[in-house]
Symmetry: D2
Amino acid sequence: MDINFDVKRLGKCSVSSPIEGLHRSKGFHYVNEQERVLYDSSLKSFNEFKEREIQPISFEKAGPFEKIYFDPSKTKVAIVTCGGLCPGLNVVIRSLVRQLYNRYKVTRIVGIKYGYEGFIPKYGHEIIDLTPEAVEDIYMYGGTILGSSRGNQDVEEIVDSLERLNVNILFTVGGDGTLRGAQQISEEIERRGLKISVGGVPKTIDNDINFIERSFGFETAVFKAFDIISYAHNEAKGAYNGIALIKLMGRDSGFIAAHAALSIQEVNFVLIPEIKFDLYGANGFLEHLIKRLQTKKHAVVVVAEGAGQFLFEGKEAHRDASGNLLHNDIGLFIKDVMTEELDKRDIRHTIKYIDPSYLIRSAPAIADDGKFCNQLAQNAVHAAMAGRTSFVVGYWNQQFTLLPISAAVATRKKVEPEGELWYSVLEATGQPMYMVNEL
Amino acid sequence: MDINFDVKRLGKCSVSSPIEGLHRSKGFHYVNEQERVLYDSSLKSFNEFKEREIQPISFEKAGPFEKIYFDPSKTKVAIVTCGGLCPGLNVVIRSLVRQLYNRYKVTRIVGIKYGYEGFIPKYGHEIIDLTPEAVEDIYMYGGTILGSSRGNQDVEEIVDSLERLNVNILFTVGGDGTLRGAQQISEEIERRGLKISVGGVPKTIDNDINFIERSFGFETAVFKAFDIISYAHNEAKGAYNGIALIKLMGRDSGFIAAHAALSIQEVNFVLIPEIKFDLYGANGFLEHLIKRLQTKKHAVVVVAEGAGQFLFEGKEAHRDASGNLLHNDIGLFIKDVMTEELDKRDIRHTIKYIDPSYLIRSAPAIADDGKFCNQLAQNAVHAAMAGRTSFVVGYWNQQFTLLPISAAVATRKKVEPEGELWYSVLEATGQPMYMVNEL
Amino acid sequence: MDINFDVKRLGKCSVSSPIEGLHRSKGFHYVNEQERVLYDSSLKSFNEFKEREIQPISFEKAGPFEKIYFDPSKTKVAIVTCGGLCPGLNVVIRSLVRQLYNRYKVTRIVGIKYGYEGFIPKYGHEIIDLTPEAVEDIYMYGGTILGSSRGNQDVEEIVDSLERLNVNILFTVGGDGTLRGAQQISEEIERRGLKISVGGVPKTIDNDINFIERSFGFETAVFKAFDIISYAHNEAKGAYNGIALIKLMGRDSGFIAAHAALSIQEVNFVLIPEIKFDLYGANGFLEHLIKRLQTKKHAVVVVAEGAGQFLFEGKEAHRDASGNLLHNDIGLFIKDVMTEELDKRDIRHTIKYIDPSYLIRSAPAIADDGKFCNQLAQNAVHAAMAGRTSFVVGYWNQQFTLLPISAAVATRKKVEPEGELWYSVLEATGQPMYMVNEL
Amino acid sequence: MDINFDVKRLGKCSVSSPIEGLHRSKGFHYVNEQERVLYDSSLKSFNEFKEREIQPISFEKAGPFEKIYFDPSKTKVAIVTCGGLCPGLNVVIRSLVRQLYNRYKVTRIVGIKYGYEGFIPKYGHEIIDLTPEAVEDIYMYGGTILGSSRGNQDVEEIVDSLERLNVNILFTVGGDGTLRGAQQISEEIERRGLKISVGGVPKTIDNDINFIERSFGFETAVFKAFDIISYAHNEAKGAYNGIALIKLMGRDSGFIAAHAALSIQEVNFVLIPEIKFDLYGANGFLEHLIKRLQTKKHAVVVVAEGAGQFLFEGKEAHRDASGNLLHNDIGLFIKDVMTEELDKRDIRHTIKYIDPSYLIRSAPAIADDGKFCNQLAQNAVHAAMAGRTSFVVGYWNQQFTLLPISAAVATRKKVEPEGELWYSVLEATGQPMYMVNEL
């Protein structure tokens, strides 16, 4: 991983950015190539770097460039969406098309169907023409009009296909696996000496992409989770010793679970991948749950899908078609454990188990998320038109940024067990800092 | 079952209905005890009854009575909610309290916790005072502030408890089992020579109560199902040969499934308890599903929880605590059957299975449902104050009605396989009238 | 007005209804031409008609006919939407198209733009081809993809246009004025000896069409009004002596105001066109409002746009382009009167005035309304294909019906001042039955 | 204004923060008093400050302190909400109470009614006890349970009242005027030598508080505006040359208008206070509007309430009770100007004017906003318990911060006419960069 986070360029930008519609834009502020955003905005970091006399870690700032690389009238663009659904995919597609069409006058835009499969001849998927009319209303619904699939495909075949289609810019919208694929595509392109830009709009509903504060779809997920927890809370209160157990997304990180619990403040226990917990014992989860029932007669438990995987240790691991580690179902596991323990102790109770993942992933983006999708797409188009490649668009310290794909996929963001967010969650839920018997 | 559907009365009504706040209500129209609503509003029925010279079947009209049975200042009321959650329970509770308090000046109202359990000493549940202040905001959320439980309790113990509490009117909000319990309570009350009115607000999210056009919560259920199907549709379209399978409520009837499919018109197959279907064979469900995939590459299937129970024949039957027959899980079954068949035929596909029951049952009532709850509650209070007992409030041919409990629980409404509603569904889905190989 | 409410027919039905997709429909129940729905479903009415030995008033039942008039392969259909926006217009359009296309295999369907204007050459509006693909997603948003306009156009020019376009069936979706126009079109068609069916889907967000229990869009309006009143209630409570005044639709009838107040039960005063009220005096509205403020420190007032028009007597009257009587703005008037009186009495207060009409009219239909739109459209297609003309589709006593346009537009439904609905509203608001000083 | 942005402290913190419920929190990370967040996170700024050898501008980091100033068991807290409604007020109140109660075991918390008026004896407003039970469900609705009022009150009387009530901590939730009042209260407290902490949760739906990236309620406002614009768009398309004109909040800044337009991308013109525009002339707004109508036959215009105030120059200015400059109604003005010009040019058109302010201000906070409210409140409690005073809680570069009130109210944030946000809006709307005839 390049610590400088410099984004690759296809070549020198010598075409003037079209400005029609931006009347008399004398003062228009294009991005200066030297503009960068600090990674660490603390005063402490400032002083450290100052003392060590080295430049601090920073990211390129995204935005429109005065000179661009591609000649719009000769540019053809392909868009592909990969992996599981995430709110905002259609908004990103729409906004990429509109920005290319209206801002840069690029009129040849095609959609690749069903993820990377759409490039591979044997699947026989059609190519779709993407015009502003075709994408006009798609922001109203979730999913992706292009369809999606999991898993990567043969990189050479993909680049063959890009060549056959005369594509100059490829936008990939997808998660870790997809972006790694995009990087390989970009490397193969370079090997062949082609001038094709590969730009990524990183997609993870879990909001755990490295060096990126926020990913699209996350806020809609929290919005949806809020309602679901609210309803689950009604179920819990509706029965004597009622327990509502909600499994939320979060394979490697607990951001959705943490933010949702923090937003509604009706959750009593949040279990996330980053925090170990014991089930049994005096300070285990079950003991605390039972104390809660004794005083309040109901409880709401949120579990992220990747929580408590250590409980399955020794059991077989699986990976899905994208190579993501498949987790054993912690939701059902916790449900069974609770039932067993409460029955053993002869505590009458009712458990309602709710797994709303599909209903969250397929929702349309809410306003603020849609806005964010639009800004990501606008900046992705700016960067690609300016010949950046193997990049993703990010957001950091209140600014849109550009990152090499390699930086974004290196590791994942995590909820820090002793950090600000998690502490706010503890205060909101009242659960103990650690539900373990031995620290 | 009494074919006249006459509602029992505790005695003569001799107290004047309070009219404060209904200034100068000279013209106010109280319900005339002779007002009745025809069961069959067809011209054909008119002519048949006319010819046979007998009175047609009809229901008592609900509404305010000029003379009432109970003296408000001496009346104490108990409210209990039983069975599974249903949107609108809190609205019914709030409206019963407000109507009693504001309209009739009855100020002693108590809530019984966790269904009929709340009457039984051994459970030790508290009694709650219900004032207008206490119920002011509860319409905003789903569930029931009183809690609920399934199953009936010892009738004698319940009546002992009503006596101890000096209750004059008991409102029970619940389904079939609950109402049968209410009828037994009412019979025990009569046996003891007590003057306690027992009124029911019938609750079934499935909308399958006999002789009642609409039950509260149903419309909210369809409203919620609409969104869920919309999202599921996004999931289906998002994958190659994507299938979204949604299990909706409907233990003995397919009304929710049928209305939801009709409302959104994005469903391709609806399976309900009333309509037999074959899985295999040239005209079976799977063959039609595969045809759909071949032409459209995605499909949306809705299955009511009580559909296809014949597929489990020979297997063990269960009943829940309320005595409801528990069904084998047709959703998971259909999912497995589809997977198996598509795999066998080597058809690549993705199935997303969604079971949103808890999220629907625990939702707050939408406006029109809330209005309906309010009107049911208002009319339940009118009837009980006028000494009606062992009754439920209904709605038929655009009028609120009163029915003996016995009539309401005798049988269940069904979707008619060759009726108007189902035919509309077939037109909306495009599915064949019968997916069976032999008629 | 024809008291028999018989719908006109273009001629004998001799074409078999297509049944593809309705596999083995041996048992399929087509509508029998003698099936009719009673207007009055009370037992009292039964006995009166029986005694008088005359047939009671009844409506034709809607539904699919076994034999139809038009040959689908030779049929061309036009659809036009007129008047103000109403939730569900797009659902009706979509469902008409789908029913024609899928059920009857009619493939030539055109949309007329901007209401009746679209027929008139001088406006130069284009004609739109309506295919299932073109209308696939339009149910997701409010408004009408065809556009609309108020006011009628020259009937002869319209029929000239229908002839030029070779239209066999015209569906008009609109209110009173539109339907009267449709009737005239139908009469001109008859004069010319043409065989063109004119069918109406009656549109009034106010739900005040004669002989029709429910009109599409109304339920969505109440749904939206519920939220708006809820928010207004927050505004009222947020200030000392805060008054929220909401003007809702209802030019000649107070159904929206009444149902909305009944659904949320947070409204203290509802003023509607059907109920006279005094502003001043011991029993006038202002006195009651002030009493409310004295005890509760806030108040919510809903006023239907057509309420209190007597207050403007002697002032000039206006009509809009459709001929609807334009009302003086009662909302602003009441606001001014309240301000003046409270200022005069030195009562500190804050008034928030909210007029959400456009935000309600342009909303997408909610599920139950969408379902209703679909059923209206399906039945409109059945009737038109069977050669019915100058008709509207209605709903009465739990059945879809067919009515001559003349019957539907003869008068308007009203909230009965001493009827069940209004009394429920009084109980829900606590306002006096009559706020007048002299009865 | 103190450029160091140091927050005042009442004295030394010597009480240990209670940690019950935070079991074995050996590793718990309290905020270090030296932790600060850089104002400018650009690399350029880093290098400039480094070169100039001075410390960069930074803010104190918010969070829990290990040692606190007040002894929880002896602490009494008052909460007051002031100014216009804003989504999230109730969430802030609830979260302040819960954090005080659950985290710090402060049990004596009172609510002051109707803003600063509640302190002044002559108004006679009651004091409310705020317990976790009393605030349990209030997050579900908008408004403020405490009520509010505009305008400041006599500072000495307020401090008299704080003394009489034995209040140790006062939380004020309000905008500019309110915070200036809080600062004066804090100064008077200091003059009297009292030890009362005054903490502010800054409230502005317009999101234009200095040095604070985001203010609560803003995101809900954009969420609501999204729907409203969507509906308005339906109205615009529903008529020939239909124009929907929506006035959104934004007295001095156009953030809501800009973000809403960016989120939905269906707006064609956005007029905000920061950008001058001409109405007439070849490059004026009206000419561009007419061009839009000619090509698309409809247009959506969003105007912030503070836009185009120069058009009223020479006319009388007003201030509201809080001292905010009242603007002439630009919405109605633009509506009239459009009507006049289009009529003059004989262009048939329909204008729908929508002013949804109250419906936005009184909405409940959506999930992400609720979460933010909770975090603001948690941090406000941490800071006040640690003896900070005359402070507000802020958010900057992904961290919660503490600012002196003086810094927050010094000036307002603005949309930069040549900045990133506005440029994104221009790209999304297609409107010219400047609609002026002379630059």
